[in-house]
């Protein structure tokens, strides 16, 4: 589904990613771990199409297409979803309006009719209840004045509405208390599907108890320095990153 080959990325004259290789298939969950500043969010943002990064080398194919040929909205329409590490506040635009516009943009590319406001509201309320979100949040401006945890939940709520094919979750667990973590994990697990792939960026093995990954990758200094199964996360938790950082990039 997603083939990242030798991806190198620079921003503001600084090399951030230095030859990333990653192969993600349908139904798989990949966890990406790594120290602060290692380039995890950069990878996530580049995949979502954020501007301001220079692709200096490599390529990314998504469902056989060159990902870089697609605008961010085209990627979303093609099924890519990024849950932001720092969701943006948008005062004046209601969650309701925003999310229905997003859903209908995606439905349109699938050749489906737009969903009307009443059906959408019903769907939204159901999904919010699953995440134990206060239903008044749908009327509020996107993320404006939301607590850190509420913002993260809102990301997962959006994901559950948009039902992407490839979901990239950038530190969705940060800032969540244990109850919220369980709810969010539950929300993510509900979307696990043989047709859907997920990339979960996290610092904490704790999350991976709930969302059990098929693969774990360690990103350091812009390389993937080690890949393994879920036990790698446990090992990291025990030994810290120092143990691994000197290692050679995996090819």
């Amino acid at each position: 589904m997603l083939e990242v080959r030798n991806l190198s990325v620079r921003a503001d004259g600084k090399d951030i990613l230095n030859g990333i290789n990653l192969s993600i298939h349908r139904g798989e969950v990949h966890a990406i771990m790594g120290p602060n500043g290692s380039g995890k969010s950069t990878l996530a943002q580049v995949l979502a199409g954020r501007e301001g990064y220079e692709i200096t080398d490599g390529e990314v194919a998504y469902e056989g297409e060159n990902l870089f040929d697609l605008d961010p909205e085209e990627r979303a329409q093609a099924g890519i979803f990024l849950a932001f590490q720092y969701p943006v506040e948008i005062p004046g635009v209601s969650n309701l309006y925003f999310l229905r516009a997003a859903l209908n943009a995606i439905r349109k590319t699938k050749g489906q009719d737009p969903m009307d406001a009443i059906d959408f509201l019903e769907l939204a309320k159901k999904k919010m209840a699953n995440l134990e979100m206060d239903s008044t949040m749908i009327e509020r401006s996107v993320n404006a004045g939301f607590s850190g945890g509420e913002k993260k939940r809102n990301e997962i709520f959006q994901m559950s509405i948009l039902e992407p094919k490839l979901a990239i979750l950038d530190e969705t667990d940060s800032g969540l208390d244990i109850d919220a973590l369980k709810l969010v994990s539950h929300g993510v697990n509900k979307l696990r599907d043989p047709d859907r792939a997920m990339v979960v960026v996290t610092h904490y093995q704790r999350l991976l108890n709930y969302i059990v990954p098929d693969f774990v990758h360690v990103l350091a200094g812009g390389h993937i320095v080690k890949s393994g199964d879920k036990n790698l996360a446990l090992e990291l938790e025990e030994k810290g990153y120092g143990w691994i950082e000197e290692a050679e990039p995996t090819k």
């Binding site: 954020r50 961010p72 909205e73 979303a76 948008i90 997003a102």
Partner: protein, 422 residues
Amino acid sequence: MLKDRSLGEPDWLSECRRDAMVNFEELGFPTQHDEDWKYTNLTAVSTKEHVIAEVPNQKLAIDDINSVGFEEVDAHQVIFLNGRLIPELSCLEESSLEVGNLLNGQNNHLVLEHFAKQTDTVGNSLAALNTAFFGDGIFIHVPDRVIEKKPIHLVFVTIAEQVDQFTHPRTLLIAGQDSQATVIESFVGMGEEPYWTNTVTEIVAAENARIQHYKLQQEHVKAHHTGFLFVDQARNSNVTSHSLSFGGRLVRSDAHVRLGGEGCECTLNGLYAVMGDQHVDHHTTIEHAQPHCKSNQLYRGVLDGRSKGVFNGKIIVRQDAQQTDAVQSNKNLLLSRKAEINTKPQLEIDANDVRCTHGATIGQIDEEAVFYLRSRGIQSEEARSLLTYAFVADILENLQVDGWHEPLEEMLFDWVQQAQVE
């Protein structure tokens, strides 16, 4: 340049006009040497020989009136055309208000008591010019304890058939004790030629009166518009005035508010959306003269093309005005690199126990937000217009006129689309 208007008028009026004319001649047109006119160049107005607008050849039908929400808002309507009241298009019968033409003010002691009292004191030459030249003006009295639910909508239409004509709309609103009323003043222009509207509105709010005032400015794009609002508030009164400014080539809108009794509350809100070569300038002055008064100002602007905006908000707190609570905010969104805004708060505080806050921002569209919206599948242009719209539509939340919200939203939405294709 100006011929005498006062011939054949009652004494009180010709006296007012004469004094005003002397006043104007002493002061002259404001120039950019005046601190208050630093960013607004009036030479396009002052160097022209303006003539008092004549009644146009074109007939005005009610359906021609295109101010936003004119149809949708259920109101007592009073229509002026080129400075003249059009009784056939106006209806005021069933209201509990006392309404009249200012030209017949000698019949009403309230007019004699309040007319031009506020304009006289501030050394405002254009307000004086208005006094000297206004045609039909309107006087509205909301008697004590009367609560008028239906808004009064004054529409000032200009049909500019000749070049450089001017009109001087004039409104005097007197709100009695414990009274309530809503007044909308709309300015619209048609025709091809440049013209100048120079308007004055005086509001006197007695104890515990509650007044909502709205000014909707949609002059023709070649028009000059200068407008002055004066508000005098007595104890515990509450006055809100919104300035919604979209039209005109060169626009100046001032508000002078005097909080002259304890416990007054005043809100001034503004929204300006300009593009092309438009220039829009808001100057506000709120004078806290007595303790325990509250004032609130929220102005938002969105500027596209080569347009220019000015906001200057002055808050004066007199020595006695302890426990003053004054808040001011001006936020601007620049959609083009050539658009410009000058924004400045001005505080003169002589009391020590006060809370005054002010803030001004000038920004572009938040690219982070654009990316966020796009990352969810929303087209780039749609994301931009959504964000622009969200920025301005905020102000509409404060409007309390039934039926007006939707047409204004639509109009703003269209404005945003138009700004984008430019």
